[in-house]
């Protein structure tokens, strides 16, 4: 078995995680002009709530606890936006100030999470899933479920955006906020839906990350924030399909990178892509069609 293909397989699994989270982040980017530094903590919250439902309260089966936790993160995202982020964004035109507010949210969430869940490594209460040979790849059944689920979610998002009235309104709001304001779309409602979806996908991404890594800590998702950014920027900020493609590229790059460079730098591949792309091609690699 070739090591490259094993890492390539891990890369596909990471791509699934990144795709879930990056899609949520890019949806939110579409309707805000600032960057949410607390997004990594939204992801972490998904995994931690799953842990709580799975191990601490109710002792729910993992596969039942996970979707409930993700929905709770979606609700949390709507509340965080309504109570905190949106008022600041409305009041201060300078996006840097709102970004500092999201920084504060990140700090707040991370520290409160540390108080509740300690700094220890946590494990979901689920059967140990042993890696199996699948073609040239090495995947555990849980990871394969996560990957399949991610693909399913991507298809559902595609159908939502392309075929439903809600999806059309979301795209309209993302493409041109001021135009949408005048065209009779209920902006407040669509904004809430978008934040809910963003939080939901963040939660799913965080849970998927914990499954892929087979454990979690309160800060493990935070370090992935810039990897997610990298996927979003690679695909063109605000572009959902771009984010999916970006996630695939980032997942494969970060997991195969340790074959060639110090494994300690694997996440830096993402950071580096963020820096270089924003410097030289801020519109992303995938051009957004139909936009001026």
């Amino acid at each position: 078995m070739h090591l490259f293909w094993i890492d390539f397989g891990t890369g596909l699994a990471t791509a699934a995680v990144v795709a879930l989270a990056a899609t949520g982040l890019t949806l939110q980017f579409g309707i805000t002009n600032y960057i949410n530094f607390a997004y990594g903590d939204f992801m972490g919250l998904g995994a931690l709530l799953t842990f709580a439902l799975n191990n601490q309260a109710f002792h729910l089966n993992f596969w039942i606890a996970a979707p409930i936790a993700a929905i709770l993160v979606g609700v949390f995202a709507v509340i965080a936006n309504q109570l905190l982020l949106a008022p600041f964004a409305r009041r201060f035109s300078n996006p840097a100030l709102t970004m500092i507010v999201t920084f504060g949210l990140s700090l707040f969430m991370a520290n409160v999470a540390t108080v509740i869940w300690t700094g220890n490594t946590l494990f979901f209460r689920m059967p140990i899933s042993v890696d199996k040979k699948v073609g040239p790849f090495l995947w555990s059944p849980d990871v394969m479920i996560v990957m399949g689920f991610a693909v399913l979610v991507m298809v559902m998002i595609h159908l939502l955006l392309k075929t439903t009235r809600l999806g059309k309104m979301m795209r309209a709001l993302s493409d041109n906020t001021s135009l949408a304001l005048t065209s009779g779309i209920d902006v407040r409602q669509i904004t809430n839906v978008t934040w809910f979806m963003s939080g939901l996908l963040a939660g799913l991404g965080g849970i998927a990350l914990a499954v892929e890594e087979a454990n979690l800590t309160v800060t493990s998702a935070e370090s992935y924030l810039f990897v997610i950014f990298a996927a979003v920027i690679l695909g063109g900020i605000g572009s959902v399909y771009g984010a999916m493609l970006g996630a695939l590229a980032i997942g494969l790059l970060t997991e195969t990178a340790p074959l060639y460079i110090n494994a300690g730098y694997k996440l830096d591949v993402g950071f580096f892509i963020v820096i270089v792309l924003l410097l030289f091609r801020p519109q992303g690699l995938v051009p957004r069609l139909g936009r001026s």
Binding site: F88, M99, F103, F108, N111, F271, F272
Partner: protein, 339 residues
């Protein structure tokens, strides 16, 4: 001397150091308008360089070593490190300010800080990776034959003298025509260019001065701890300094002292002392850290001008020292035009 007194002096030391740090960020962010989210990187670079300049060279062995060491006196290593950090900050600024919109700049700056942080953890050849720099000499301690407690009291005084000098420099800069150009860039960089100011050059200058201040703060932190490694700092700690600036009052030099004191006493050093001496649990400390976020939101929402608001410079301020000129303006000519 009691343990409490040592704690108290250490806290005073932190207040002074973070006054210096927030003065630098205030210049770059509040007075020049650059969201320098990589600011804490310069604190760290200043700390590492202060260590390297005052330590001897240790060849790499068993994963520990530093690439170079100048064995300089600590009092000299600190400003030298700050100058080099300032130049580094100008270089980073020159590369990134050239092309970037400010909202992207914020993200790129965080990414740069994260990459260098990871580098400091993984690379053992330059500054020993996670081991970092140890045994950074205490300036003056050897010469004066004093113990570490006495040294802390002495060095708090040294830091205070530095802070007063840096406060005076910042005051002079911000009251000068150069400071006025910085503020013009903050308010509208397009207009600043239209009136003939080289925006790019001033932004880099501002980042250089900011880097210098950050590095002085970092150097003091490293000297107090006698060590510096990747767990001594994190790029996201920049948020604490931003909070000091916001709470203290953007654009206000004395406000920075208020902001630094408030955060260090009530939210950082104070809770740490209470948690370790009375509660014997880190929970209180962690909650205090979470409260910093809440403090920042409340401060920004209810008092965006901060505890000590920026003072506008009045006509009297500009003419004050030249009373003869005041007479050249004949108020009779004034047309009270309500346009």
């Amino acid at each position: 001397m009691s343990a409490f007194f040592l704690f108290f002096m250490t806290m005073v030391f932190y207040v002074i150091v973070f006054w210096i740090a927030s003065l630098g960020l205030d210049l770059v962010w509040s007075r020049t308008g650059i969201p320098l989210f990589a600011y804490y990187l310069y604190v760290a670079v200043g700390a590492y360089l202060t260590g390297l300049f005052s330590l001897p060279h240790v060849p790499l062995q068993n994963g520990v070593g530093n690439l170079f060491g100048f064995n300089l006196p600590g009092l000299l290593a600190l400003p030298l490190a700050a100058v080099v950090t300032g130049l580094f900050a100008m270089f980073v600024g020159a590369v990134f300010m050239r092309r970037l919109r400010t909202d992207y700049l914020a993200v790129v700056m965080v990414a740069v800080a994260l990459v260098i942080w990871d580098f400091s953890q993984n690379d053992i050849t330059l500054v020993s990776g996670n081991t970092g720099l140890t045994n950074i000499p205490l300036p003056l301690a050897g010469v004066l034959h004093i113990n570490i407690n006495q040294w802390t009291y002495l060095y708090t005084g040294v830091a205070f003298v530095w802070a007063l000098a840096l406060w005076w420099i910042m005051k002079t800069v911000s009251n000068s025509p150069t400071g006025r150009v910085f503020r013009a860039i903050r308010d509208d960089s397009v207009v600043a260019a239209t009136i003939g100011k080289n925006v790019y050059r001033y932004q880099i200058l501002s980042m250089g001065i900011g880097g210098f201040y950050a590095a002085i703060a970092g150097g003091f932190l490293a000297q107090l701890a006698t060590s510096w490694n990747p767990s001594s700092w994190a790029p996201f700690e920049v948020f604490n300094v931003f909070t000091m600036v916001i709470v203290g009052g953007v654009g206000s030099n004395l406000g920075m002292l208020v902001g630094a004191a408030l955060l260090q006493v009530l939210f950082i050093q104070g809770p740490t002392y209470v948690a370790s001496n009375y509660l014997h649990s880190p929970t209180f400390e962690t909650l205090a850290a979470a409260a910093i976020g809440v403090l920042m939101w409340l401060s920004l929402w209810f008092r965006p001008q901060g505890a000590v608001p920026e003072r506008l410079k009045s006509t009297a301020w500009y003419l004050g020292r030249e009373p003869a000129l005041q007479e050249t303006i004949n108020p009779d000519l004034t047309v009270e035009e309500r346009a």
